[in-house]
Amino acid sequence: MGVTALAMLASLAVLAVVGPVLWGPAADRPDPSAVLQGPTGGHPLGTDHLGRDLLARLLASTWSSLLPAVTATLLGAAAGVTLGALTAVVGGRTRRLLGAFINLLLAFPALLVAMFFAVLFGAGARGAVFALAVACAPGFARLTQTLAAGVAGTDFMAAARVLGLRRHRLLRRHVLPHVAEPLLLNTTVAVGSALVALSGLSFLGLGAQPPSYDWGLLLSQGLDRVYTEPLPAVAPGIAIVYAGVAFQLLGEVLAKAATRQHPPARQTGEPAASPAPTGRRPAGADLLLEVADLRVALPAGDRTIRPVRGVSLALRRGEMVGLVGESGSGKSLTALALADLLPDGARATWSAHRFLGADVGSLTRRERHRQLATGMAMIFQNPASAFNPALRIETQLTEAVRAHHGIPREQAVEQARVQLQRVALPGERRLLRSRPFQLSGGQRQRVAIAAASMMRPDLVIADEPTTALDVTVQRQIMDLLRRVRRDDATAILFISHDIALVADACDRVLVMYGGTIVESLPARALADGARHPYTRMLVASVRGLTADRESSPPGLGGAPPDPGGTAPGCPFLDRCPQRLDRCAAEIPVLSALDPHHEVACWRPLPPTASSGRPETEECDT
C-alpha cells in the first residue's frame, strides 16, 4: 500500500511541475474549427467551447488544482494548531472560553463555512483558498486541543511550568513536538479533502474564474454537456478522485507506520517438548472436571507465546479448589481454556479433558455448548467491566436461564429475586430495574455471584473475584462463595494471587508457576507443609501465615519466566535458591509425595519448615 501511495503522489508531483510547461500552450490554444468536439484521435477527451484540447487542459491544471489545496490546508493548519495549542498553556478560564469557541466553529460543516467565506472574500482562487483555510482550521484546533490536553497533564509540563518557562517557549519546546506526529497525519488527509472541497467551490463558480481553470471548473463545464458527451465530465472527476485517494492512502500508510514503530522482538526456535504428564489422577466417578496436559498457545505479533504449558488438574463435586500464582503465571488463561472462552487466535490442546463425565473432545459443538451453558458459570475479576453497561440488571440476571431453560420472564425474575436475597442485596425490585453503573463494586460482584448461581451450575470458576474490591467487601464475597458451595454443592475453582485468602477458603490449593502447576496440596498443609521452593516463598511472603514472625520473609526476588521462552528446564530455575544441574536440563513433572500432595520439583524441600508443626497449628487456630 505504501508503494502505491508514493507512486500516486509522485505521479501527481511530476504532473504538477511538468504539466503547465508541456501542455500549457496546447491548453490555451483555441481552435474555432474544432469547437465542442467529442473524443477523437487528436483530442482524446474532446475539446471545449473554444476548441481547446481538454486532455491538455486537464493535465496542465494539475498545478493550479493541487497548489491551492496544499496552501489552504497549510494556512488552516497553522491557524488551527496555534489556536488549539494555546489551550494547553493558558489559564483555566481562557482555556474554557477557547474550547467553547472551537466547539462553536466545529458545529458547522466545513463546506458550508467555505461557501460562506468564499462569497465574502469574493469569487476567485484566492478567496476560495482563504475560505477553505478558515473552514479547516477548527478541525485542526480541536485535534491539537485534545492532543495538547494529554501533554498538559504530563509531569514534564508541570516541571516546565514550575521552572517558569514563558508561554511561547512552552508551546514551541514542550507542546508542539509531542503532538506533531498525529497532526502531520491529519494534514495529509486534510489536503485530500481540501482538494475535493476546492473543486466543489470551483464547481459552484466560487473558485477559479475563467480564463484560469482547475479540475473543478473543468468538471462543471463538462457537466453542462454530459447529456451528449460524458467523458469531459468524467475525466476531471477521475482526476479529483485520484488525487484525493492518493492523499488518503498516504495518511493511512503514515498511520499504520506510526502504530508499527515498535515491532515485538522476534523469537526463534521451538519450545522443547515437555515430558508426558505422569501426575494425572485416575478417572473417578466423583470427578467433575478432569484435564491433563492442558496447553494454550497465543499468537503475539509474529511469534507464539505459550502461557499455559501442561496443566493437569481434577475437581470433585462440591469441592473448592484454589489456583494461586503471580500475575502472568497462566491462571486466568487456564480458566478461560476450561470455559472455552479463550481470546481469538488462542489455541488450547490437551491429552485428556473430561467435564461432567463426558469427554470434551468427542462432543459436538452443540453438545459442548449445552454442557457449558448449564454446567459451568464464571465470575470475573473486575465487576466494573463484567456487566453490560447498557442493560438492566434484570436482563443480565435472567437471560441465561431464559435462553437455556426456556423459563418465562416472570418466573425468571422471581428466581432472580430469590438469588439476590440470598446474596444479601436488599431492595431487589429497584435493583433489578437499575443499570450496572448505579451499583457499587461490591454490589456488582454480589450480583455476579447471584447471576452465576441462577443456572445452578456444577462448577463455578471465579477468576480473582475479590481482587478489585477492598478488604472488608472481600471477606463478604468469600463468605458468599462458601455459602453457594455449601447450599448448592457447587464446585468452585477459585483463582487468586492471594495465597492467604486461598488457604483460608479452599479445600485444596494448586500453585501455578510459569504456566505449569508446581504443587498441589491440601489447604491446611500450606502453612508449613509446602515442599516446592516457590510455594514456600509465596507462603513466607505472607507474614500472617508463618509461625515465625521474627524472621523477615524472603521477598520474591527476580521476575517470572517469559511466556515466549523456550528453555528446556524448570520454569523456576532462575529464582530457585537450591537448583541442581538437572533443573536446567529437564522440566520436573508433578509427582505424588502422598495421596493428597503432589509436587513438581527435582529436589523438594524437607516436609517441615524452619518452625515446628505444632506451633504453627497453634498459631493458625
Binding site: 458547522f108 466545513a110 463546506l111 467523458l231
Partner: protein, 328 residues
Amino acid sequence: MATVSARIGALSRRHPWAVFCCRRAVRLTVLLLLVVTASFAMIRLVPGDPVRAALGVDAPPDLVAAERRNLGLDRELTAQYWSYLRRLAHGDLGVSLVTGEPVTELIRARLPATLRLAVPAFVCVLAVALPGGMLAGIRTRGGRRPRTELTLTVVTSVVAGVPDFVLAAGLTAGLAVGLRAFPVAGDLGPQSYVLPVLALALAPTAVLLRIVRVETLRVLAMDHVRAARAKRLPAATLHLRHVAPNTLTASLTVAGSLLPALIAGTVLVEKVFAWPGIGSAMAQSVVAQDYAVVQASVLVLGSAVLVANFLVDLALALLDPRSVIRET
C-alpha cells in the same frame, strides 16, 4: 466563580436531565444567533456594492438607491440589525434582488425538496452502515478473514474519497446518460430520487461502515462481552443485545457528525441533478450574486445543521443515559 460552579455541580447531580437540556438549549441558541448574525453580516461584508452587482452595471441609479433603501442598507448598522431580527421573527426574509419575489416563498417551495433528498439519504446511510459495519466487525474479528478485511478497507476508502458531486456526475454519465436507466435531472417521480440519494449517501455510508466495524471490534473485545459469552447465549442474542447497543453510541455520534456534511452536500448534488431544492437555489444565486437568497440559504442550511445536531444529541442522551451524567 467557584461557588457558582459548585452550585451547578450540585444541581447537576440532582437533576442531570434538566441541566443537560438547559446546556444544550443554551448552546443551540448561541449557535443560532451566530448563524443569524453571520447571515446578516454577509450581505454587508461582500466586496463592492451587492445591489449594484445584482442589478447590473447599467442599472439606473435611482433604482439602485430604492433597492438599497428597501434592503435597509442606508441606515445605521445597529438599527439594521434590529430590523433584520424583527423581520426574521415575522418570517420575512426580504425579496430576491433578481426576481423581486419574496425569499420566504422561495424557501417554502424549495426546502421540502431538499429534505426529500437529505432524509432518505441519511436513512440509507444508517440502514446500510450500521448492520453492515457490525456484520463486517463480527466476521473479521481477531484477524479472521484477512482478505475480506483488505477488500473492505480498499473499497470503503475509495468510496469515501469520492466527493459527492463527482459521484453525482459519474452516476449521471454512467446510469442516466449511458444506460438511460434513470432520469438525468429534475424531480420526475420516484425514479429520479435514486441517483441523487445514492450520490449523497454513498461516501458517508463508507465512512460510517468503517467506524461501526472498528467500534464493533472494540466492543467484542470488552470484558462484559466475554462475560456474556460465558452465558452461552445464542449468537443473535449475544450480538444484538450485548454488542449492538454498546456500539451504537459512538456510531450514532459519528453519524450525527456526518449529517451536517450531508446537508451541505445537497448544495452540490442538487446543482448536478438540477434538483429544485434550496441547495441549487443557493448555487444559482451565488452565481447571479443575488445576496438576499444566498443570505437566506445560509441561514436555513446553517439552522438545519444546528437543529439536526441538537436532535442527535438528545437521541444519544436517551439511548445512553450515562452521557448525560458524564457531561454535567
